[in-house]
């Protein structure tokens, strides 16, 4: 495979755009949490650009790799999937990037998030990672993509083996695997892990988890004091900043705003429908989330696959074991890695807790995992909660697959159904 040559022209342009968005937000502020969100996304990318210019080491890391280890070692992180998708969304480069992936022999049936990543990395459009860490949570596309990025940059890599279940034995194995990852990072950076620092980072992460749980409970109130766009912001902040003080800042601001609204007994917009959102919504259309809430009065009150944390037991003296437990408590990994019963029960329990009247399942058409779960989740919600589920076929990154207008049309019909069921 030919090695990629770094060309940061586009990345710089994306950072400029993120900067203008942030400045625009400062001039026309909405909420404190919104402001923090845009600042963090800008800072994440700026830091990468800066690191690349200064020759500081950058780690490419895939979905479900615990950020905490990179953060504790002060390594500049580049998220493989999210980093590429974010850039492509900001610059609207879908066609170009997906055509590149096609040119590399990637079939259109493959996960579009990973095709996007392949297109971006193979053209050298993001800062070059000095080394790559990845794992097979949550799918085989993740497994192959890590290898792809490693090879395309000719960089060393480490594959983290995450066990399937979370028995004590397997958690111990996973903690050992995390130890191996630390050894790899130490070798690449020439620095030793400061274990006290890691303990502090994990403790910070646990604090943030507590806030996320509070948010989950606040969302379940009637009316729900939540903004629909939190669904997308939550995914990006957790994946890019999980375990950092920045994430704590963001979630604290979200929680405090929610508490304020709850005290006033209100939601951001008059609430007509309470809807559960399942899986990752179209990242190219935040407008749809806002429109649902502002114009249709549909609040996304529950998000079982991305915001419903399982119980995470912290052992302050054993940071690696604690992180291993966190990976299994994290909602996306917990529900997506299987067995499918976990996803079904998370959706059912969440619908009951939040009094959802219906659910919207974002069916990413190139995602075998997500699509395979549609039927059991839909049946579970119908049989155990008695609510309907709308299946929205779409692509997370590419608006040409199913356009925004078509998505809105389906949602509108679904809300009419919910109206009639009242």
């Amino acid at each position: 495979m030919a090695t990629a040559t770094q060309d940061l022209t586009r990345f710089e342009k994306a950072v400029d755009i993120l900067d203008s968005i942030y400045r625009h937000r400062q001039l026309t502020p909405t909420t404190k949490a919104d402001g923090i969100y845009y600042r963090l996304i800008l800072e994440y990318n700026r830091r990468l650009l800066q690191a690349s210019k200064e020759g500081r080491q950058i780690a490419g890391y895939g979905l479900m790799i615990p950020n905490e280890l990179l953060h504790a070692m002060d390594i500049v992180p580049l998220h493989l999937e999210v980093g590429s998708s974010l850039m492509v969304t900001v610059l609207k480069l879908y066609e170009e990037v997906l055509a590149t992936a096609k040119g590399l022999g990637m079939a259109v049936e493959l996960c579009s998030a990973h095709r996007t990543m392949a297109g971006v990395h193979s053209q050298g459009w993001v800062p070059r990672p000095d080394f790559v860490v990845w794992c097979h949570t949550i799918c085989e596309a993740c497994t192959k993509s890590g290898e792809f990025v490693r090879d395309v940059w000719g960089a060393p890599g480490f594959f983290l083996d995450r066990p399937f279940l979370d028995t004590e034995e397997q958690l111990a194995y996973f903690a050992d695997e995390l130890g191996e990852m630390v050894a790899f990072l130490e070798k690449q950076t020439g620095k030793k892990m400061d274990w006290d620092r890691l303990k502090a980072v994990v403790a910070e992460s646990y604090k943030c988890y507590g806030i996320q749980k509070e948010i989950q409970q606040l969302r379940a109130l009637t009316p729900s004091p939540t903004y629909n766009r939190f669904v997308v912001q939550n995914i990006l902040i957790e994946w890019l900043f999980g375990g950092t003080p920045q994430a704590t800042d963001f979630y604290t601001a979200v929680r405090d705003e929610m508490k304020q609204m709850a005290a006033e007994g209100r939601s951001p917009y008059p609430e007509k429908f309470r809807v559960q959102t399942i899986y990752v919504p179209p990242m190219f259309s935040w407008k749809t989330m806002d429109w649902l809430q502002r114009e249709k009065g549909a609040t996304l009150v529950g998000d079982p696959m991305d915001a419903r944390w399982q119980k995470w037991d912290l052992n302050p003296e054993r940071p690696l074991l604690s992180l291993a437990r966190k990976v299994f408590a994290e909602p996306h990994g917990y529900t997506m890695h299987g067995p499918v019963e976990r996803a079904v029960s998370a959706c059912v329990q969440d619908a009951l807790d939040t009094k959802a009247e219906g659910a919207v399942y974002w069916a990413a058409m190139t995602c075998p995992q997500g699509c395979a779960m549609i039927r059991p989740v839909r049946d579970g919600l119908k049989e155990k909660v008695g609510i309907p589920t709308l299946i929205v076929n779409m692509d997370v990154n590419d608006p040409t697959v199913v356009p925004e207008s078509e998505i809105m049309e389906k949602l509108e019909g679904f809300l009419e159904t919910l109206e009639e069921r009242k």
Partner: protein, 261 residues
């Protein structure tokens, strides 16, 4: 009080006018390039039939893919609600509606009040839609309206894929060129069967409750209606004018809305 429902579909525009709950005018026209122009034309024809003028209408509700372009409608509703309301007026005992239009097929579970309990749609592949049937008619070199009758002569259903329109087309070509060729009627029955398998699979996902009705342009095809019955192993009712059900539902909603004003 006269009200109108307009259904602007991708291929045809349908209008129903109700006066004191009775259908007094209806029309079906090929959709115009401009949804609004087509809707106005179809409405004029239905108004003429009813002996009414536009100014007599108290409420107009538009539905269908082009509904948002009908600026003279007071309200827009999606096809789901309109189909449910429409079939409830025609056949109140129907609890499952299968609507097969030009570009999509939808299955709706309906309650006693004519409200939607659940629904599921299929619009990402031509298989299972009117567009698929139209392309198959071209392939078979047979006018579309004759396909239904012809298929009733079939001895058996030829094997045709239900998963993908492209595969189905290749299979049909191979049936035609086989030596000896598969009888035309069997191939057409196979085509209907492939659509029916797909749509019934969809219906089963939300549960099929009797009575069952079939609507949309494709419901006029008797052969297709028969294989749907065979696949469901249940009786399926096709209303007299299956194309106008959504427009009728829109008119009913207009009536209810008028009452609220």
């Amino acid at each position: 009080m006269p009200v109108a429902g307009i259904d602007v579909g991708s291929q045809t525009t349908k209008v129903v006018i109700l006066n004191d709950g009775q259908v007094v005018g209806q029309s079906v026209m090929v959709s115009a390039e401009e949804a609004e122009t087509g809707a106005r034309k179809a409405l004029d024809e239905a108004l003429q039939q009813a002996g009414l003028a536009l100014s007599d209408l108290t409420t107009i509700v538009a539905t269908g893919a082009g509904r948002k372009d009908v600026s003279f409608a007071q309200k827009q509703k999606t096809s789901l609600s309109c189909l449910a309301k429409g079939i409830n007026r025609l056949l109140p005992a129907v609890r499952t509606l299968i609507d097969v239009g030009a570009e999509s097929s939808t299955v709706i579970r309906i309650n006693e009040k004519g409200g939607v309990d659940d629904s599921i749609g299929h619009d990402r592949c031509a298989s299972g839609t009117g567009a698929f049937l139209e392309s198959m008619a071209k392939l078979m070199q047979m006018p579309l309206p004759e396909m239904g009758q012809e298929s009733l002569k079939a001895q058996r259903r030829a094997e045709v894929s239900s998963m993908c329109a492209i595969f189905a087309e290749q299979e049909v070509i191979s049936h035609v060129h086989r030596v000896p060729p598969t009888p035309k009627a069997d191939i057409i029955a196979g085509i209907h069967g492939s659509m029916a398998v797909r749509i019934v699979g969809l219906a089963k996902r939300i549960g099929v409750k009797p009575e069952i009705a079939l609507t949309g342009g494709v419901a006029r095809n008797v052969g297709f209606a028969r294989v749907i019955e065979e696949e469901l192993k249940q009786k399926v009712v096709v209303p007299d004018n299956p194309q106008i059900v959504a427009a009728l539902g829109a008119a009913r909603i207009a009536q209810e809305e008028g009452g609220k004003q």
